[in-house]
Structures are given as structure tokens and as C-alpha cells.
């Protein structure tokens, strides 16, 4: 009886322990639970264009760039916590309910602005993927969207004309081939030039509109000076919508319009270097090929900017980061030593060619559309070659504008270091000890 009781207890203990150990595993296989939440969807200015994510309930503050139009809207959606990324994910595809009401902006406890939803859209002048965009509001938004619709309609019309012309061309080409064949069979000699003249010309395809303007949507447009604010949603009956209160931080750059460089070292073209500040020096030791890409940039607080890009990002309030706003065009890169200009470099597109064979690796060559049909350049840049024979001294790179003047903030120092002398530094360290010994011995002698 006692043995049976003991066995039962042991079995229960084993079962409980097994169940406890299985719990985490069960947790892992479970799909994250979806919860209905009020979130703010952001379409905000990020220094170069517009973008943004959403602010879940876990985040109590929204960060925006001051004195710019920022579009935000309140939505009811399904949110789940994704343990792999440690972030909340929204399922706007499943539920995306617009929250009605007015948005109140408070400074302290005082309501300073009450915003109604207004029409707005983004104008992407270089296409959707270029990253550059401008926000238009109200009538202007609709006007830009109409312009886009018109351009698209024109494009499709031209495209259909082109397709028609393509059919015509193929027909004429077949006729031409038959004609040539017939004449050749008849013993007639046709020169290359004659054949070229007779050959029908293919139609050129129409170019799609370079810009993109989606249909306008309705959002609250926030444009405020730097400072700390609060926002909340109020419905028609005067009640505040639950969970709609958020802190709002409007910040601006610390430094504006700086010139930064992305430098692509020839030996590792995928791992680029940044030279953001004019006080930063480029140190090199030997033969180098560097590809420079200049940018205009603004400097923002790291935490604020990271939170602007994605409210669930982390960051450090004590740190600052440069944000590239646009590439610098129409300039020449000058490489000089003192006042003497050693190289004047223009921008060129480059392609990366794999080297086959036992040595492997790659080669960076200038992109030539004729020699490389169907291939696009991997990157563009100002190619600076530092020869092995260059004296190990100080050089500088700078940007020259078309008019001849120097581009502000474009100067960077390039120093070729003498690394072979690194060990001699220890000899230099002995210097104070030598002085000390002289003083010490001198004092001893004096005392004697």
C-alpha cells in the first residue's frame, strides 16, 4: 500500500516537473496574441523626405521634427508583441479603423491648438523609391494628385501607341528580312550600309512619369516650434478618447547644412566609411583607391531621431547623429597638397566585376553602358587614387563648385602616416625620465 502511495507521489511530482519544463516550450510555439489597440500612424518629416511607422500603446511619446508638416492619424488596429524583434507589430491589413474626432495639442495643461483632419498627400519628385518627398495639403494635394493621374493617363496612351508601333515595326522587319533573303537568293549583292538604310527603325518606348503622387488621405497635420507638448483626441460629445493621450516632443537639428562624405574603400566596397565632420581626418598608410560621395547633412539627437524613424527604436539622448539630406551635385573633387592641386576628379559610375579563377575577389571598373548592356552601375563616386609613391605627408580633399568657388564645409584632411615608425614612440617616452635623471644626479652632486 505504502509502495503504491509512494509511486503515485513520484508520478505526480514527475508530471508537475515535466509540465513546468514544458511551459516555456509551449510559450515558444504559441502565436503572439493579437490585441485591439488605438495607435497613431505616422507620416512624418525625417530630414530628407517623409516616412514613419506607428506608435503603439507601449510608447508614451511621439517625436517629430519642429516647424515641418507632419501627418499623423489615429487608428484602431490589431497589435501583437513579436519576441524575435522585441517590438509590437500592427496588422493594418486585418483591422484599420479610422478614429474620428479632433486632435487637441496641449502646452502644459493649456490647449493651444485643435486640429481637424485635412487632405494631404506625398509628392515623390524622383519616384517612390528615391526617398525624397514633399507633403502637400488641401487643394494643392488634390492638384498634384490630378497632375500625376494626367501624366499616368498620357503615359498609358503613349504606351498603347508604342505597342501599336512595335507591331508595325515587327511586321516591317519581317518584310525587310524576306526582301533581303529574296534579293540574296536572286544573286544580288547587298552591302551592309544598304541593308542598314533599308532596315526599319524600331519605335522608342515612352518614358514613365518620373514622379509619384498617391491619392490624398485625411490626417492631422502637426507643424509646431520645438518644445514638449501633449496630444489627445476628443470626440463630438466632448469626451476624451481612451488611450489617445501621448507626449509630443518637437525637436530640431543641432547643426544644419554640414557636408559629409561616404567613402568607399576600394578593398572593401560593401563596407563604407563615413567622414561626417570637417574635424575628422582620413588616415591612410599606403596605396589606396577611395571613392568619395559628398552629402548635405543635419545633426540631430540620436534618441529623438531614432524614435522619429521608428517609435519603438532605442537611442542615447547624450549622442548626436548626422542625417544625410541630399547628395551634393555639380561639383569637382580636388585633391591637393598645400596650394598645389594634384588631381581634379569628376563623378563617374562604377561596376563591380567578380574575378574568376584561383585568386577570386573583385575588380571595380568604370561603368560603360555600351560595353555593359543590361547592367546598372553598383555605385557612383569621385575616384581618388593614392599612389604608393606619394610622400607621407598631409593632403586635403575639397569640393569645387561649377562657378569655381569651394563648396562650404567640403574640406577634409588626408594624412599618410608613417606606421613603420610606431615602435620608436616608446623611445620618445623615455624623454621625461632622462630629464628626471639629469635633475636627480645634479641634485645629488650638489648635496655632496
Amino acid at each position: 500500500m505504502k509502495i503504491a502511495k509512494f509511486k503515485l507521489v513520484m508520478f505526480s511530482v514527475t508530471l508537475i516537473i515535466g509540465w513546468v519544463f514544458c511551459l516555456p516550450a509551449l510559450g515558444q510555439v504559441q502565436t503572439p496574441a493579437l490585441e485591439e489597440e488605438l495607435v497613431y500612424r505616422l507620416n512624418v518629416f525625417n530630414g530628407r523626405g517623409y516616412g514613419g511607422e506607428f506608435t503603439p500603446q507601449s510608447e508614451d511619446t511621439i517625436y517629430l521634427i519642429a516647424d515641418k508638416n507632419n501627418a499623423i492619424s489615429a487608428r484602431i488596429t490589431l497589435v501583437c508583441f513579436w519576441p524575435i524583434t522585441g517590438k509590437y507589430q500592427a496588422s493594418f491589413g486585418t483591422l484599420n479603423e479610422e478614429v474620428e474626432g479632433v486632435l487637441e495639442i496641449l502646452k502644459g495643461e493649456k490647449v493651444i491648438e485643435t486640429l481637424e483632419k485635412e487632405d494631404n498627400c506625398l509628392y515623390h519628385p524622383e519616384g517612390y523609391w528615391a526617398g525624397v518627398s514633399v507633403l502637400y495639403r488641401g487643394e494643392e494635394a488634390w492638384a498634384y494628385h490630378e497632375k500625376y493621374k494626367k501624366a499616368i493617363a498620357e503615359y498609358y496612351m503613349k504606351r498603347s501607341e508604342y505597342q501599336q508601333a512595335q507591331i508595325e515595326y515587327r511586321k516591317k522587319y519581317n518584310e525587310f528580312s524576306k526582301e533581303i533573303k529574296k534579293r540574296k537568293e536572286a544573286g544580288e549583292e547587298i552591302t551592309e550600309e544598304e541593308a542598314q538604310q533599308m532596315m526599319p527603325k524600331p519605335p522608342s518606348p515612352p518614358r514613365s512619369p518620373g514622379f509619384f503622387v498617391p491619392p490624398p488621405g485625411k490626417d492631422y497635420i502637426i507643424n509646431l516650434p520645438p518644445g514638449n507638448y501633449k496630444i489627445r483626441l476628443r470626440v463630438e460629445n466632448g469626451a476624451i478618447i481612451q488611450d489617445s493621450e501621448k507626449n509630443l516632443v518637437l525637436f530640431t537639428y543641432r547643426r544644419e547644412g554640414g557636408t559629409g562624405y561616404t567613402i568607399i574603400p576600394g578593398n572593401r566596397w560593401t563596407k563604407r566609411e563615413s567622414c561626417d565632420d570637417s574635424s575628422w581626418i582620413i588616415y591612410a598608410a599606403g596605396k589606396n583607391t577611395l571613392y568619395f560621395n559628398p552629402f548635405i547633412q543635419d545633426e540631430y539627437n540620436e534618441l529623438y531621431y531614432n524614435k522619429l524613424e521608428e517609435p519603438q527604436n532605442t537611442g542615447r539622448e547624450e549622442k548626436w547623429k548626422w542625417v544625410r539630406t541630399e547628395p551634393i551635385k555639380n561639383v569637382t573633387l580636388l585633391f591637393s597638397k598645400g596650394k598645389e592641386i594634384l588631381q581634379k576628379i569628376v563623378i563617374a559610375p562604377y561596376c563591380v566585376k567578380q574575378i574568376y579563377g584561383p585568386e577570386l575577389g573583385y575588380e571595380i571598373v568604370e561603368w560603360d553602358p555600351k560595353e555593359m548592356p543590361g547592367r546598372l552601375p553598383a555605385f557612383g563616386g569621385y575616384k581618388l587614387e593614392l599612389a604608393f609613391t606619394l610622400p607621407k605627408t598631409n593632403y586635403e580633399v575639397n569640393l569645387q563648385e561649377k562657378e569655381g568657388g569651394l563648396f562650404p564645409g567640403g574640406r577634409r584632411e588626408v594624412r599618410l602616416v608613417r606606421k613603420e615608425r610606431a615602435k620608436s614612440l616608446y623611445i620618445l617616452s623615455i624623454f621625461p625620465l632622462a630629464v628626471g635623471l639629469v635633475v636627480f644626479v645634479g641634485r645629488r652632486r650638489k648635496m655632496k
Binding site: P265, I281, L428, S429, F431, V435, L437
Partner: protein, 278 residues
């Protein structure tokens, strides 16, 4: 205080500082400290140079600033210890009692010690100039005007370290206690500062969640430590130089002067209250 008394006090401070300065400069200690600081700097610079591969580049604002920071920290540790030891030793040996029978007062004594250390550091600054100029000549790392400005900043931050050392030694009676307290607190300050620099220097994407918590904790701790730690005045000054912000740089120097003045005042008051036997 009458004019005559003031003149006597100045004379006393001068005499005390001169006596101590002569003693410090004729012993080997300060030269060894400078030598060790340069060995540490050479080690950092050698590694920096070796990290620039033959066909590669390295981008840095001022590679000589960090070695300068390390050199300043080592020398200021030595000078702070020296002042703490000398006060405690004079207390222990009873020399203070003899000194205080004459025109020496708490304020002249503390100021004498402070001025002596500052003058000793001026000698070290000369070593710094020769060493970093030599480094620049040898390796072409560059002796920039910013480095000169950083060396100037180091004088003010050293003033903070010395006043901190004097403050600690005025609080303690025994030499051993002064040394332990001083080293302990300074190492703690350095650990917070260096830890924060390392964590903040890491690229955002490479900071793991554990390190993020540590960074946040250090960030909170350092908000307080930043005002107390004498070393943070040096790092803030160097930051202002790299930002090319003269206003911040000037403000940091002003804060260093206020910090030194406040701690010296506290040291004098404590010394007065405790008396020569401590």
C-alpha cells in the same frame, strides 16, 4: 584683512609652494609618472597606427586626444596622491604644528599645496608638448591646434583633480585612509566615464539588450557623476573642442574654475575646523 596681512599671506603661499615645488621637481616621482603616462600613450598610438592596414583607411577626429586624456589622468592621479600624502604625512609627523606656529594658516597652507601642484603640472605640460610634437613628427599623426587647446583644457581639469585630492585629504586623518579614499573614488569616477564612453561609442545596432540596460543605468549615474568627477571636466572640454564650440569650451573652463574654488574653500574650512592634528 589688511594690506599688510594680505601681502604676508601671499608671501607665505609663495614660500610654501616654492619649498614643495623644489622638493617635487628634484625627486624622480613626477618624471616617472610622466614616463609611465607616455608609455601608455605610445601603446595606444602604436595600436592606432597598426590598425591602419596597408590598403585601407581609418577616420578619426583627433587620434592624439585620447592618449593625451590618458596621460593627463595618470599624471593627475599622481599629483592628487602626492598632495594627499604630503598633507597626511605632515599631519602624522607633526610638521604641520611647527608650520602653523608661524604665519602659516589653513588657507595659505592649502593654497600653497594647490599652487605647487599646478606649477608642477606646467612642467609636465612642457613634456606633453615635446612628446606630442615628437609623435607628430615621427608618424605624421598631426599636432593640431585642437590638441593645443586640449592641453590647455587639461590644466583646468587638473586643477579640479588637485582640489579634489586636497579636499579628500582634509577630510581624513591618516595617510592610508586618504590614499584608499582618493584612489577608490577616482577609479570609480573613471570607470563610470570610460564605461559610458565605450558603450556610447558602440554602433547603435551592435548594442545588445543587456548592454542597453547597462547604458541606461550608466547614463543616469553619470548625470550625477558628471558634475562631481574632476575627469569629466576634461572629457567635456575635449568634446567641446571636437565640436569646435568655443562657447561650450569656455563654459567648461568656467565650471572647472568654480569647481576648484568651491573644493578649495571646503578644504580650507574643514582644515580650519579640524585643526592641525586633524
Amino acid at each position: 584683512m589688511t594690506r599688510k596681512e594680505l601681502s604676508l599671506s601671499i608671501h607665505t603661499v609663495k614660500a610654501l609652494a616654492k619649498r614643495d615645488l623644489y622638493s617635487t621637481l628634484s625627486s624622480l616621482g613626477i618624471y616617472i609618472a610622466a614616463f609611465l603616462s607616455f608609455v601608455a600613450s605610445s601603446f595606444i598610438l602604436k595600436n592606432f597606427l597598426q590598425s591602419i592596414k596597408g590598403d585601407d583607411i581609418l577616420i578619426s577626429a583627433d587620434p592624439l586626444n585620447y592618449p593625451l586624456f590618458i596621460s593627463t589622468v595618470i599624471v593627475s592621479f599622481y599629483l592628487a596622491l602626492l598632495s594627499a600624502i604630503s598633507i597626511s604625512r605632515e599631519k602624522d609627523q607633526g610638521t604641520l604644528e611647527v608650520l602653523f606656529c608661524g604665519p602659516v594658516s589653513s588657507s595659505t597652507y592649502i593654497l600653497g599645496k594647490y599652487i605647487k601642484n599646478i606649477l608642477t603640472y606646467f612642467v609636465v605640460v612642457l613634456f606633453f608638448l615635446v612628446y606630442f610634437w615628437g609623435v607628430s613628427l615621427l608618424t605624421n599623426l598631426g599636432f593640431s591646434s585642437r590638441l593645443g587647446k586640449a592641453i590647455l583644457t587639461s590644466i583646468f581639469s587638473l586643477s579640479c583633480v588637485i582640489s579634489f585630492g586636497l579636499f579628500i585629504s582634509s577630510l581624513t586623518k591618516k595617510m592610508r585612509n586618504s590614499i584608499i579614499w582618493l584612489i577608490g573614488i577616482l577609479i570609480l569616477f573613471l570607470a563610470v566615464g570610460i564605461g559610458q564612453t565605450i558603450l556610447f561609442g558602440m554602433p547603435q545596432g551592435e548594442v545588445s539588450s543587456v548592454l542597453t540596460y547597462l547604458t541606461d543605468t550608466l547614463s543616469v549615474v553619470s548625470r550625477g557623476v558628471d558634475w562631481i568627477s574632476p575627469f569629466s571636466y576634461l572629457s567635456r572640454g575635449i568634446d567641446a573642442i571636437s565640436l569646435d564650440n568655443s562657447f561650450l569650451w569656455g563654459l567648461n573652463i568656467l565650471y572647472s574654475i568654480i569647481y576648484s574654488a568651491v573644493l578649495l574653500l571646503f578644504s580650507i574650512c574643514i582644515f580650519k575646523r579640524k585643526g592641525v592634528r586633524g
